[in-house]
C-alpha cells in the first residue's frame, strides 16, 4: 500500500516536472517569435540620435514623430504604396475567393464528362510554383504593354488551385445537394442559385480564404518586382526592398523601423482580431490524411 502511493507520488512529481519543462519550451518559443517584433516597436519609437546611442529594451516617446516622418517621406511614398498594395490585394482576394468557389461548385454539383479530368488537372498543377513560368509571363506582359499595370497581378487570381481545393473540401462537408434540387424546383436559375443560396452557405470558408489570399497578395514580392518599376505604382514589399538597396547609413533609422512596422501592421491588426478563425482555417482544407 505504502509502496503504491510512493510510486504514485513519484509519477505525479514527474508529470509536474515535464509540465514545467514543456511550459518553459513554449515560453521560449513564444519569446523567440515575438522578440524581433518587440524590438521593431521599441526602435520605431526612438529618435535617430537615440538609436545611434545604443541598445535599449524599453520604448521611447518618438513614435508619432517617426510615424509622421515616415508617412510624409518624399522618396518612399508609404501611403501610396499601401493604397497600391491594398487595391491589388483586395481585388485578388475577391476574384480568387469568388471564382474558386464557382469552380469548386461546378465540379462538386454537376456531372459532366470531363469532370474527373478537370479535377485531376487542378490538383496536379497545384504544386507548380509561379516563378517557374515567370519568364514567359513577363515576356507576355511586355508584349501586351502590361508592365506597370495591376491587371497581370490581379487577374491570375481567378485560377487559384489551392483556394479551389479548400472550397471543394468545404463543400463536401457542408453542402447537401437537396438544397440545390429544392432551388431548381422553385425555378431558380443555376447561376442565381449559386450566388444567392450557395455562396451564403459558404460564408466561413469564404471569409478564411479572403484573408489568406489577401495576405498572400499583400506580401507578394517576386512578381510585382518584375512588373512594376514606376515609383507611384510600387507596392509595399518593393518599397521595403528599395529601402534595403539605398545607402543605408544616411537614413533616419527611426523612420526605417517605422517603414517596416507600417508594412506588417495591417496584417497583424487583422490577425489579432481574427486569429481564432484564421488558425482553424489553416487545417480545414489543407490536410487529407
Amino acid at each position: 500500500m505504502n509502496r503504491l502511493s510512493d510510486e504514485n507520488l513519484r509519477a505525479r512529481r514527474q508529470l509536474k516536472l515535464s509540465r514545467f519543462v514543456v511550459y518553459l519550451i513554449l515560453i521560449f518559443l513564444s519569446v523567440l517569435s515575438l522578440f524581433s517584433f518587440y524590438m521593431l516597436i521599441v526602435n520605431a519609437s526612438r529618435s535617430n540620435a537615440d538609436l545611434q546611442g545604443g541598445f535599449r529594451l524599453l520604448p521611447s516617446n518618438y513614435f508619432f514623430k517617426n510615424l509622421k516622418n515616415a508617412w510624409t517621406d518624399a522618396s518612399i511614398n508609404v501611403p501610396r504604396g499601401m493604397l497600391n498594395s491594398f487595391i491589388i490585394a483586395a481585388s485578388t482576394a475577391v476574384l480568387a475567393t469568388y471564382f474558386s468557389a464557382l469552380t469548386a461548385y461546378g465540379i462538386h454539383a454537376y456531372d459532366f464528362k470531363l469532370k474527373k479530368l478537370a479535377f485531376t488537372f487542378i490538383m496536379a498543377v497545384m504544386v507548380i510554383p509561379n516563378q517557374v513560368s515567370a519568364v514567359g509571363f513577363y515576356q507576355m506582359c511586355v508584349k501586351l504593354g502590361w508592365t506597370n499595370n495591376y491587371l497581370p497581378l490581379i487577374l491570375p487570381g481567378i485560377a487559384a488551385p489551392i483556394v479551389f481545393f479548400y472550397m471543394k473540401q468545404y463543400m463536401e462537408s457542408v453542402l447537401p445537394m437537396e438544397i440545390v434540387d429544392a432551388a431548381r424546383v422553385d425555378g431558380s436559375g443555376e447561376f442565381r442559385t449559386f450566388n444567392t443560396i450557395i455562396l451564403p452557405m459558404l460564408k466561413p470558408a469564404l471569409a478564411v480564404q479572403l484573408i489568406f489570399t489577401f495576405v498572400e497578395s499583400w506580401n507578394n514580392y517576386f512578381m510585382p518586382a518584375l512588373l512594376l518599376d514606376k515609383a507611384e505604382m510600387k507596392t509595399v514589399p518593393l518599397m521595403i526592398a528599395q529601402l534595403r538597396s539605398a545607402d543605408y547609413s544616411k537614413f533616419d533609422m527611426g523612420k526605417v523601423y517605422m517603414f517596416i512596422l507600417l508594412a506588417i501592421l495591417p496584417v497583424v491588426v487583422v490577425y489579432i482580431f481574427l486569429s481564432k478563425s484564421i488558425i482553424k482555417g489553416v487545417t480545414a482544407g489543407s490536410v487529407k490524411g
Binding site: 516563378q131 519568364v135 447561376f191 514580392y221 526605417v256 508594412a263 506588417i264 484564421i278 490524411g289
Partner: protein, 313 residues
Amino acid sequence: MNQLREKAPAKHKSISYAKWGYLFIAPFFITYAIFKLYPLFLTIYNSFFENYRSGLKQVGPNFVGLANYIKLFTPDANGIIDIIKYTGNTVVLWLGGAIPQIVIALLLAIFFTSYRLNIKGQQFFKTVIYMPNLIMASAFSMLFYTLFSNVGPVNQLLMQMGIAEKPIDFFAIKITVRSLICLMNFLLWFGNTTILLMAGIMGIDQNMFEAANIDGATSTQTFFRVTLPLLTPILVYTVITALIGGLQMFDVPQVLTNGAGNPNRSSMTLIMFLNSYLKTSKNYGMAGAISVIIFIITGLLSMLVYRSLTKKD
C-alpha cells in the same frame, strides 16, 4: 401550351446540367491557360534560344538548342554561372530551417494534444507561434537586416556588454548569413507546421492511445509505436510541401543580401539566380533554362506528394 405542359414532367428527369458544370469551371481554365500554361510553354520555348540585352544592344532571339543548359552546368571563369552551387545553397538553407521546423512542430503538436500534460493557454501559444507565418517575408528580412547591421541593436548590445570591441559584420560571414536565413524561415513556418501536425494527431483514433495506455506503454513508446506510424502520411505531406516551398525560397535571402547572395554568393538561391537574369539583362534564354530545371525538380517532388497522398486510399 398544352403540349408543353404534357412534356414538362417527362423532360424534367432528363434535363442535363452538364453545360453548367463546364460554364462554372470555364473562368478558371481560361485564366489558367492564359496566365500560367501559355507562359509556361513560352518559358520552355525560350530556354532553347539566345535572347538577351547587352547594354543597349539586343542579342537574338537565335535558336541555340541546348546551349543554355550546357552553359548552366559549365562553371565559368567568374564563378557566377554555377547552378549546382545555387541548388546546393538552396538545399542547405532549406534544411537548416526545415529540420528544426518539423522536429519542433512535431514536439509542440504532441505537447498540445497530450491529455496527460493538459497544457493551458493553448490558444495563446498557437496564436503567437503562428503569427510570423502571415508576416511579409521581405519586411521580416529587412527587420533582421536592421537588427543585425553594423549599427544595429545586436551589435550595440554586444559592444555594451563588452563581448565585441567593434561591430561584427554579420553579413560578411557565410555562417551567420546562412544561420539568419534559416532562423527566419524557421520562425516563419514552424507555427504553421505545428497546427497541421496537431490536426493530424487529433485525427488519429483516440482508442489507439487508450489501448496503448491500458497496455502500460510509456509516452515514448506511445509516440514511436502509435503516433509516429499513424502520422506518417501527413508528415510526408508536410515534408514534401515544405520542400517545394523551399525550392521557391526568394524573399528572405533576396532582401537580406540585397539580391547579391553574399558573401561570395553562398546564400544565392535558385530563384534569386533566376531573378538576376530577368531583372538586369532580360536574359530570357538562361532564365528559361533555369526555370525548366526548377520545373523538373518540382515535378519529381510532386509525384512523391501524389504517391504519399494516394497510397492510403
